[in-house]
Symmetry: C2
Subunit: 178 residues, 2 copies
């Protein structure tokens, strides 16, 4: 075991499930792909997500007090890259990414029809960390695709993954082989 | 897409990397395996973890203001199950799990020699969620094994995983095939 720069460690932290934070407020809406999410309570069911304050979705979550967590599958690797590298301030990410918003039951943000699963989340608390905000939210409804496939992940070059999209030196998206 | 009970959704949330929170205070120390962890800041590097207040390690983290995150690999599935289903109040988990504590550089908790990687973490903030506490910590040092293998995960029955240990109806541990 040897001491390494912390940045060298992060490359080992694979697989990491990718989640889209979807938020809407007063007719404005956006999609922000995240890798930094976790469960944080069993009863009531709660999720925590880390979002950079510079993201357009960050302000929409604060304004709406709610969001949807949509879990993309293998068909949405390109859409995830698009949503992660463009801003919803300038573009309609839903149209550009080719995904279908569908009304949720209990929050203003839409579900994403093409995703493997969607969670409706009500904001409960938020905490500023170094350069991100942790949003803590109660999961008030869950939706699952009729034939849910594997969740899109940030992956390494292991043979257990079906690699879907590689941006050299930056991102490698894939799913665990079924 | 159909609405489901939230508990039915969690079964889809695989893979989930397993991490040991290791804490020590005034000669007392313990290991608490976690699935609910995430990165939460790039600069400074920070991690967030969710720990139930009933866990012995929870009190040790609060008292010490620091902890180690140790990432087990394929050899530590059984040790992870042991540490997750016994309390450090009653037993020396290091001896029972057959792992080797090694002094860290900047925190009182030890590193775990057999783990793929270890992060030394200083507690910065904590937040109570439904039935867990989020500990927010700065990563002040990182250690990586000379030949790091894949990280132990909670997995499903997909063919991309090498399954290591199954507790029917509860846990399935594995690693992504290399």
């Amino acid at each position: 075991m040897e001491q390494v720069d912390v940045q060298a460690f992060w490359k080992l932290l694979r697989p990491e499930v990718v989640v889209w934070a979807v938020a809407e407020h007063e007719g404005q809406r956006s999609i922000c792909p995240l890798g930094w999410t976790m469960r944080t309570s069993g009863a009531p069911p709660m999720m925590a997500i880390s979002v950079a304050p510079s993201r357009y979705t960050h302000g929409l979550i604060e304004a709406a007090g709610a969001f949807v967590l949509a879990y993309p599958g293998r068909e949405l690797a390109q859409a995830t890259l698009y949503c992660g590298t463009n801003s919803g301030r300038d573009t309609d990410k839903f149209a550009q990414a080719g995904v279908t918003p569908r009304p949720a039951g209990q929050v203003p943000a839409p579900l994403i029809e093409e995703c493997v699963a969607n969670l409706e989340c009500r904001l409960v608390d938020q905490v500023t960390t170094g350069d991100h905000t942790i949003f803590v939210a109660e999961v008030v409804a869950a939706w699952v695709h009729d034939r849910p496939g594997p969740l899109l992940c940030l992956v390494d070059a292991s043979s257990g993954y079906e690699t879907l999209l590689v941006e050299e030196g930056k991102y490698r998206f894939g799913v665990v082989r079924e």
